[in-house]
Amino acid sequence: MKQTDLVKQALERISLWDMPIGVYAVAEDGSFAECNKQARKMLGLDTDGEVTGSMKSYYGNLSDRARAIANVQAAEQKGAFAGAQVVPLEIDGTLHWAEVFCRTVRDPQKHGVIGFLGCIVDVSERERLRRLFDMLPAGVYRLDAEDRVVQINDALVKLLRYPSAESVLGRPVSSFFADENEAREFRRMIIQKRAVTNEKVRLLRENGEILFASVSSYAIPTTDGSYSGREGTIIDVSEEEHVRQILDEIPLGTYQVRIENGEEIIRDCNEPFLEMFDFDSPEQARGMNILALYRHPERDHPAFRRELMKKHKANGSLVGYPLEVTSVKGREFTIEVNSRPLSGPTDQLVLGRTGVVRDITEEVALWHFREDIGKMLHAYSSTLMMVRHVVDSGLELLRPRAAALEDLDGLDDADGLESALRDPTGEAIAQLTRLLELVETDERRKDALPLEKWDTLTRMLALFRDYRHLIPDRELWRPALRDAARIVCETLAAAKKRILPREAARAVRRAALAVERLCCVARFRQVRDSVITMDHQVRALREYVTSQVLELERPALAKASALITQAVRNLADFARSRGVDIRRADVSEGARVRVDERSVIRAISNLLHNAIKYSWKRSDDGPRWIAVRCRAQQHQVIIEIENYGVPIPPDEIEYDRVFEVGFRGRLSEDRGRLGTGVGLADARGIARKHDGDVVVASDPAVHGASRTDFEKPFVTIATLTLLVADSEERE
């Protein structure tokens, strides 16, 4: 008898239920009809006796069972059996995954479904692995021996931005590399090393975008050990890579230090760190005691560690710590250290630290430079004060002898000066004419001076007579007349005595001196105005420069009107010298602001100074004046400073150029006005530090006039807003 026949005979004695796999039969409602030992064991049922209970009780969600049944019936309607189905079952309170092969059991007569017969296998372990594969946030893949993709999880499909796994499967892995050489190199490395960890590669997404990925992979060997493909994981590190690339470009050095045998050893650092400290290679840096990079290790290291540990105890990082260091080539510079300790199992044990450092040598130099400028400007301010006092003394000395002028202020413009000079020059003309006539009548008198000197006196006489025609610009009459008067005086002083008619010569000199004195008074007043203007500029610049070095003072409550009063007081001298009245209107009703008073007074002073400086007369005979208005509106104090005069072109306001440090508008030097270009920038900076602002508007003073006709006056309003201190604070 053939062996196969023997097997057939034996099969008659083997029941379906003796299979080494779970087999079960249930009624349509799920009640167990039969269950073999393997199925009972898997489902936690009694291994002997009548089986009781229902398959339904194992389903956490009965819709899973309904779906499985529907699949079975659908397949059988097509004349086939349903394939394996994996269903979740709850067994003894634990989720299991069961693979079920199931068919219907039908009524022999009516052919309707009366139950189900199935095989069941516990595939929980496999299913968990599959789900891990599919649901891992990391990409997981498998390649065959030719490096074609044979398996890929959803995460990787999404990472590569492909529509489905099917669109990736079967493709050579090199087609996903941005550079095929990189793909070849990766394969070579994996075959050689059998495994790689966190290797950075550049992959291509479906849309052509480059993806920076960290790949860990191992080779799958054949039985003879040769390469039959590989498996691995891929993590998207694009963001980190972009940050790293930026960090490489903006020279921030990163480092890690480990404490080993009590020494602080550099264990890792980036390229900018190496460059910063002149290392030739990473190997040169790694393993070095970081104290070798301190310029003054004995002094600075204990202080640094104290600060670091203080921050560590407060659960923070040390930020912005300046440290003097030296490169390995002896170059000295200053860095800013931002560091955090690396803790051990307990916070008390510090294993080392990580940090970011930045070269701040230039900033430190700039800081010192600002300090130096501040000191220098302070010295200038003292010098200007001295000059001002000397000029005032000179003016006092000249004033009583100057031509009878009730108001010396009249000398400050060309019209006033011309009017004041009329009589003295008339007198000089008369006396010089008389002298020259006297000389003309007596030839011997010409011996008193060389001939060319008589020509000089004649020329000066012509100048006194005709200066309005000879000199086209009236602003230059004063220096010409002063020099002419001086020349006359010096010429006559050099004349031979007793030859010239004494009284006539003395009268000429007296008249010429009067002209010279008047011209000098006018010039002294110009100089004094310039000194006062420059004094404010120098003090404001000094305040600005030193404010960049010093911290803001602690804000204090102050009445807005009091701040304005102080600023007006600061500018009173300057306003007087420019003949500008300051007209105030205050409806702020005692509104208070919480500010650094000194800074805000400086901001208001800057705006006032500009307004005074750029003011023109509003009418021929009226005074110059500026308006300072203050009001409280909602939560703000609004201070408006208005002047009439030099325009600010619209483009300089539109693009905020007037607020750039050092910017001087193209019309700002009208009539030689001085400036440093920091006043508005400083004022806005101060306002913004207090959550306020400064804005400027400049419009033609005459309604409907052209906005580009800068020969005509404009009304310029600088508006400073500050927050009103809230009522609680005031109380």
Binding site: L470, I471, L476, A480, F663, R666, R671, G677
Partner: protein, 158 residues
């Protein structure tokens, strides 16, 4: 004697630098005209000829748009823009100039020009060499007030 017309391009002519004008106006040699900015200078030069033209390097643009534009392009302040230098190029070396004038008066020659400015000689010597302008004086606190007259005398006596 007829006075020689001379032009002084200087934005501080009526302010800080006005004392330079006294010796010129009392010399009996010159009729001194002033242009305070680049636009005014171009207009004044069109009404030449002048026996000498003295230029300051740091001048303002005035109202003409091409000078305003150049002023803005060059930093928006007279120290950076140095429009006097550009004006010299427009007049003496138009091919290399940023502002091309509609016409350059025929009487204009490098020998007739001088520079009186706060720039040190080293700062402008390259340009002046290019422009063939040999008269240059730096304005400092120690500069005598006859500096303008001296330069005019040098130029007009050549």
């Amino acid at each position: 004697m007829e006075l020689k017309r001379v032009l002084w391009i200087e934005d501080q002519a009526f302010e800080d630098a006005q004392d330079f004008s006294g010796p010129v106006n009392t010399s009996g040699e010159y009729r001194l005209e002033v242009a305070e900015d680049a636009s005014a200078a171009v207009r004044a030069l069109a009404k030449g000829p002048f026996a000498a033209v003295i230029v300051d390097i740091r001048i303002r643009p005035g109202n003409d748009q091409e000078w305003v534009d150049l002023f803005q392009r060059r930093g928006g302040n007279k120290v950076r823009a140095r429009l006097g230098r550009h004006l010299l190029y427009s007049l003496l070396k138009p091919a290399a100039a940023e502002v091309k004038l509609k016409s350059v008066p025929k009487w204009i020659k490098p020998e007739g020009f001088g520079v009186l400015s706060v720039e040190g000689r080293g700062e402008v010597s390259g340009d002046l060499h290019q422009l063939k302008v040999s008269n240059m004086e730096t304005k400092t606190a120690e500069t005598p007030k006859t500096a303008l007259l001296d330069m005019l005398n040098r130029i007009t006596s050549d």
